[in-house]
């Protein structure tokens, strides 16, 4: 089987989410990558070095700069004449583009796979991860999004794939990019961090969240996450949200502070290796999944913890 993987990038750097998707694709067959962007040859060069990659397609065009689905999907569809499966990381970019490709190919997408069981058989979580379904596709071609936390990352060095320039239909004229408000941060990215410190509604407000959670995260070299309640209340930006409908994470250590452990939150972090919970309610559901729990008032515990580390 020939597979085509959508590379996740920002026109400068190749993102780690790509590497787990390459591992999933390699279980199906030969791996080809697509870099769609503008002024993104450096990304294609990095893509060509990934171990196990046979070929890199580079579509360098202003129409692909912001990877608008309206423009990228027809480009992918063109390449699918010579491929059997299209895989994208289950990031917001992948989730935006892949279903559009699937519909144009008249294929039912297999979303958010967590394992490859056979040529056309996969497992995927449903109902906020409270059930795992084994699904078999009967479509002629496969369209898949891949959950990054459950596949190992392919080695980013060792490959020497060729780079082939391709072009697609270009700008559809249906949509245009206006702006991106991104927060620059020195901290590790949530989805690839080894340690995550997450705060919930109990943190009171943005200033308190900043005063308590951030110094602890800094001490541990950790990424900062949050529950939906903390994001809704404006303590932190939307891209901090961990959960069923936010980011899926699986760090070595996940520290949940003042988070009750609703099923929607657990869906995003229960595959973490070690879960630590700090909560004043000893019956909080988070303790049912926590490896290490500390019952008490976070306003006393967290400053003490930060100072003792």
């Amino acid at each position: 089987m020939k597979t085509l993987v959508l590379v996740e990038h920002d026109n400068v750097h190749l993102k780690d989410a790509t590497l787990a998707t390459v591992t999933a694709a390699a279980k199906l067959g030969e791996v080809h990558l697509l870099v769609a962007g503008k002024g993104c040859r450096a990304v294609a060069d990095a893509a060509a070095k990934i171990a196990g990659v046979g070929k890199v397609y580079l579509a360098d065009d202003a129409a692909y700069e912001h990877q608008m689905a309206e423009n990228v999907a027809p480009l992918v569809v063109g390449l699918m004449d010579s491929h059997d499966a299209f895989l994208a990381p289950a990031t917001t970019t992948g989730k935006n583009v892949a279903p559009r490709v699937a519909a144009l190919l008249d294929v039912m997408q297999v979303s958010d796979i967590v394992s490859v069981e056979g040529e056309r058989t996969f497992t995927r979580p449903i109902y906020a991860g409270n059930a795992i379904a084994t699904v078999e596709s009967t479509d002629a071609k496969l369209v898949i999004t891949v959950r990054g936390t459950t596949f190992d990352k392919a080695a980013s060095e060792g490959g020497s794939a060729s780079i082939e320039d391709v072009s697609g239909p270009g700008d559809s004229g249906l949509s245009s990019f206006v702006s991106l408000a991104a927060e620059e941060s020195e901290r590790p990215e949530l989805t690839s961090a080894k340690v995550i410190v997450s705060g919930g509604r109990a943190l009171k407000d943005a200033a308190t969240f900043e005063q308590l959670i951030v110094p602890l995260a800094d001490k541990l070299g950790a990424a900062v996450g949050a529950s939906r309640a903390a994001v809704d209340a404006g303590y932190v930006p939307n891209d901090y949200q961990v959960g069923q409908t936010g980011k899926i994470v699986a760090p070595q250590v996940y520290i949940a502070i003042g988070i009750s452990g609703a099923i929607q939150h657990l869906a995003g972090m229960k595959d973490s290796k070690v879960i630590v919970a700090i909560n004043k309610d000893e019956d909080a559901p988070i303790f049912q999944v926590a490896d290490i729990g500390l019952v008490g008032d976070l306003f006393q515990i967290v400053p003490e913890l930060t100072s003792k580390l």
């Binding site: 490709v101 039912m108 449903i126 059930a131 009967t138 939307n238 891209d239 879960i275 500390l294």
Partner: protein, 252 residues
């Protein structure tokens, strides 16, 4: 401008789903069902567009068994003007997949000619996150997924999207498909008088065949199991003990 709002009846988000012992699926017998939370947000946004004078009529659509009508009545009670129920069989294994839902919605869009289709980003049962994008593709229209802000201006709509790196704003030519994220709005509750009024609002009964759509599934679900259960661990009694544990893990 007409707004079309597809709404799905799903397990209530407060219910913990249980997998059936025979591995055939999740047990929905005697389980509380509700409108998919993202679809409530879509209905609310449509009502706000109408209140602003941007939308003229709100049409709610649901594809599903007889009980999907309850969900449509909820949408009508919130403020939708009329509803279309595309009825599908009750039995297990006859759930309609996103691709077929998108095809039915495309046929309805051709008939109704909405200016915007406002729908949820994700149904919390199948967690597919694909129907809106598929509809946009089949309809040949732009898509604004994961919306936290929607502003219609003339013949286009500006959508602010919740993306992994922050907030992205795009401009889409109308008609367009917009899928909602959690922070777009807080849906209203239907008042008792509006619940009563909703009973007499028009609800059209259709079937997939009326739209010429084959709903045979493309994905075979061969097994549904519980995920591995995590065992609760230990509780420590002090910050010092926690520090020692973190040191032992090699992270501190």
């Amino acid at each position: 401008m007409k707004v079309l709002v597809p709404v799905k009846r799903v397990i209530d988000y407060n219910v913990r789903p249980r997998v059936k012992a025979d591995g055939s699926g999740v047990d929905l017998a005697n389980v509380k069902m509700s409108m998919n939370p993202f679809d409530e947000i879509a209905v609310e946004e449509a009502i706000r567009l109408k209140e602003k004078g941007v939308a003229s009529e709100i049409v709610a659509v649901s594809i599903g068994p007889a009980k999907a009508q309850e969900t449509l009545r909820t949408a009508l009670a919130m403020g939708a003007d009329r509803a279309i129920h595309v009825q599908t069989p009750e039995d297990v294994g006859s759930e309609v997949e996103p691709l077929a839902v998108a095809k039915i919605l495309k046929a309805i869009a051709d008939e109704e000619q909405p200016g915007i289709v406002l729908m949820g980003k994700q149904a919390i049962d199948d967690d597919s996150n694909q129907t809106g994008q598929m509809l946009a593709a089949l309809w040949g229209r732009p898509q604004g997924t994961f919306a936290s802000k929607v502003e219609v201006a003339g013949d286009s709509v500006q959508v602010t999207r919740e993306v992994d790196g922050g907030l992205e704003t795009v401009s889409l030519k109308l008609p367009a498909v917009v899928t909602t994220d959690l922070r777009l709005n807080e849906p209203r509750y239907a008042s008792l008088p509006n619940i009563m009024k909703a009973k007499s609002k028009p609800l059209a009964a259709k079937t997939p065949a009326d739209y010429g759509v084959d709903t045979a599934p493309r994905l075979k679900v061969t097994r549904v199991v519980e995920p591995p259960v995590r065992q609760a661990g230990i509780k420590v009694g002090s910050v010092d003990e926690l520090v020692a544990k973190l040191k032992a893990l090699g992270v501190a």
